[in-house]
């Protein structure tokens, strides 16, 4: 397969190491603003990321009696700038990372106000803590792209003689405009409204695009995929623009797409936005969730396939969901060793963190436990209340059974009104369980 848009070299990451002394704040601000502009953020976006960096650095200074070293890294994500603060030996309270975080008037709360302001200034802010990257905060500010009008070719393309390959930048734009012009917004990601963003996402290596091209250059159809963690790839489509020979073209596209990712590091492929042209036999149905969209119920099928032979794995489970897991594993022939876990009075951090991934075109939020804490039950209830107040119709929660502390949260999740619905093999460190909110 010929490659159209090449993934770019990321050797241009920019770093600054300073001590957590407030006298270095001007240096940090200058670094954040200059490097984010170098990587393509416009005035308003660069300033918001700079403001966030000011709040984070000031917070870290307040948290350290003796100065500690912190390393700032600005990464060119092509459609975003990523600023990380990596440090060691600094204690911090993560509760400001909650969607529902608000500041109490006591002194402790004011200390975290800076993090809250930072979180609200960027598109995504998260904590990382692992052996390879160390501990720190990650702030992402996306570039602003113009939305494009949907487009439909006046001439209907034909399926005869098509060749498969990666399109160049202009073809990508035509392709995503054609999808927006021919399909309901329920079957493609929001990014497709911004063709320039899709081009940058392909360039960054986050998206892959495969098209079927007519001999005279027209696009007869295509598929898109995106890495979702290291073990999972999501794909979208197939999007078919021909009238005759749709089924054959769709099957060839699906087979080409699977072949394109078959030797990647991913072990699974999910079709996140399947169209009616998806051929039978290539994906397994893990389950269906009824979605509320614009007042109507729409079934959302979870379509999955493995890219490798399943070696089996170990998963953690609370007793409350063990029967559900066993029934799912039996139904889908998944070999799993279930290890029971429960909270047994051990010390907990005071504050938990839940992340929230929004999908506006599907009126959907997926909650993710990010940090274990004694207030998880109340914190989850606050999240649900806030999301309901926002009018979000579809609220899901996902846990990773590769992490014992997440499996142990089952009683909290159940008390929040969630029921386990679907097991997604290898979605995280091990299988993930998706819960739906009752009522």
């Amino acid at each position: 397969m010929q490659s159209g848009v090449k993934m770019q070299d990321r050797k241009t990451d920019i770093r600054l190491s300073v001590e957590t002394d407030i006298k270095f704040l001007p240096l940090v601000l200058s670094f954040s603003e200059s490097s984010s502009r170098i990587f393509g953020l416009q005035d308003a976006d660069a300033l918001r990321l700079t403001l966030a960096s000011e709040e984070v650095f000031a917070y870290l200074c307040r948290m350290t009696k003796d100065p500690k070293q912190v390393t700032l890294t600005m990464v060119n994500g092509f459609y975003y700038a990523l600023l990380t603060f990596a440090f060691e030996g600094i204690d911090f309270d993560p509760r400001a990372f909650n969607l529902t975080a608000n500041v109490s008037p006591d002194e402790e709360g004011l200390e975290e106000m800076g993090l809250l302001i930072a979180a609200r200034s960027v598109d995504r802010m998260s904590i990382f803590h692992n052996a390879m990257e160390g501990t720190g905060f990650a702030l992402i500010k996306e570039k602003t792209y113009p939305a494009a009008d949907p487009w439909r070719s006046e001439e209907v393309p034909r399926a005869d003689g098509v060749t498969f390959g990666s399109p160049d930048a202009e073809e990508i734009k035509v392709f995503v405009r054609s999808i927006a012009g021919g399909y309901s917004s329920f079957v493609y990601p929001q990014d497709f409204r911004y063709p320039g963003k899709v081009v940058d996402m392909v360039q960054s290596g986050e998206y892959g695009v495969l098209t079927a091209r007519e001999p005279k250059g027209g696009i007869a159809g295509g598929m898109v995929w995106r890495s979702s963690g290291t073990s999972m790839i999501e794909c979208y489509g197939p999007y078919i623009f021909v009238e005759e020979g749709r089924a054959g073209l769709a099957e060839r596209l699906v087979a080409e797409l699977i072949s394109a990712v078959a030797r990647s590091e991913a072990v699974c492929l999910m079709n996140r936005y399947a169209t009616d042209d998806l051929p039978p036999g290539y994906f397994e149905t893990l389950g269906t969730i009824d979605f509320a969209l614009a007042g109507e119920k729409r079934p959302w099928k979870f379509l999955f396939r493995q890219l490798r032979e399943d070696p089996g794995c170990r998963v953690y489970s609370h007793a409350g969901m063990e029967d559900f897991l066993k029934s799912q594993y039996k139904k889908h022939f998944l070999a799993r060793q279930i290890v029971p876990v429960a909270y047994e009075g051990e010390r907990q951090n005071p504050h938990s963190v839940f992340g929230a991934a929004f999908q506006q075109n599907q009126d959907l939020v997926v909650l993710l436990p990010l940090w274990d804490g004694a207030d998880a039950r109340e914190n989850l209830a606050r999240h649900i209340e806030a999301l309901r107040a926002e009018g979000i119709a579809n609220i899901l929660l996902r846990i990773d059974l590769g992490h014992g502390w997440q499996a142990r949260l089952y009683p909290v999740i159940e008390a929040g009104g969630f029921t386990p619905s679907i097991v997604i093999p290898y979605r995280g460190k091990a299988d993930c369980v998706l819960f739906t909110l009752k009522g």
Binding site: A131, G134, V254, A262, G281, G312, L334, Q337
Partner: protein, 373 residues
Amino acid sequence: MLTVPLTTLVPEYIKKFETYIPSRPDPELMKLYQVDHLWRLNNNENPLGPPEGSARIIEQFPPKRSSIYPSGDSYYLRVKLAERFDLDPDQIIFGNGANEAIAFVIKAFCQEGDNIITADKTFAVYEWVAEFSGFEARLVPLKDFGFDDEQMLARIDERTKILFVCNPNNPTGTYWDEPKLRRFLDTVAGRQIVVVDEAYCEFVEAPDYPDGMKLFKEYPNLVTFRTFSKMYALAGLRIGYLAGSRDVVDVIRRTCIVYSVNGLAQEAALAAIGDDEHVARTRRHVNVEKSYLLRELAALGLETHAGEGCYVMVKLPMSDTLVYRRLMAKGVMIRTMTGFRFPNWIRVSIGVHEAMEAFITSLGEILAEGNNG
């Protein structure tokens, strides 16, 4: 507690790699899938076991011998093989399985910016070793299930160092006959190294199949790979080799790891060389069971592809990785073909007749139950 500063110790490019996790041992798989037996039809292993002489060596291997280092370069093996193929022993290098030989060749000839050329749907290790080592692997689509010589030649540029041809191809079983291989080598004209992987050569009975070991004088840029894992059933001992012209092999030897082949493997392989009766017996078995398999698969209404080699490809009306799990739950292990870029195909190795029957019965049940997709 002492902590290892992995953030600074580990190079950035290593942080990006995912760990390769091989399949678990059979007893662990049997526990997970809750079965009391497992028919291994996934790795093209010889169900008849090693040749008699090799079996005797393995049975009688004195435990004390394990305290003594083996020959560092498989000396006696090279001498015996050289006699058999009319070569100089220094034209042969042994490795811990042929996979190691692939790494030796790539390391010997490629540097930053170079590329290798092979097919898209073939044994994955050529592509993997090249990519992991930082070299481009140019993949040429198969044509009618076979290596496309013209397109491979068309992809050569000034940075191409090695062309890998799997002959017969794993998994399709197609092969280049002698005239085709010669035309290819003539066109390359010595400018690149041509590796012909002959891992399954002993299974091929066709008279026009080329013997790479006879071509080194005419084509000094030719390197062949062979293994004792398949026909000679020594896969568990890990032993394979490469051969080529003296000058080329001298260069490859600079990159190779000495003492990587253990003493038992060397002695067992030595005893296997020249056991033509073992080869004939295995071929008869493969032919009989392959015919049975193809007949039964046709009766199930399935498309198949079978060429040379001890395996058959089968196209399924559902995901191959799902069928893998369902077959495992019935005690049958096959190879999924998604990783070979043949989604929804499986490769079935020729096993003992009982295993073939178990596979057919199990697959028939799965097809009758249908797909859940």
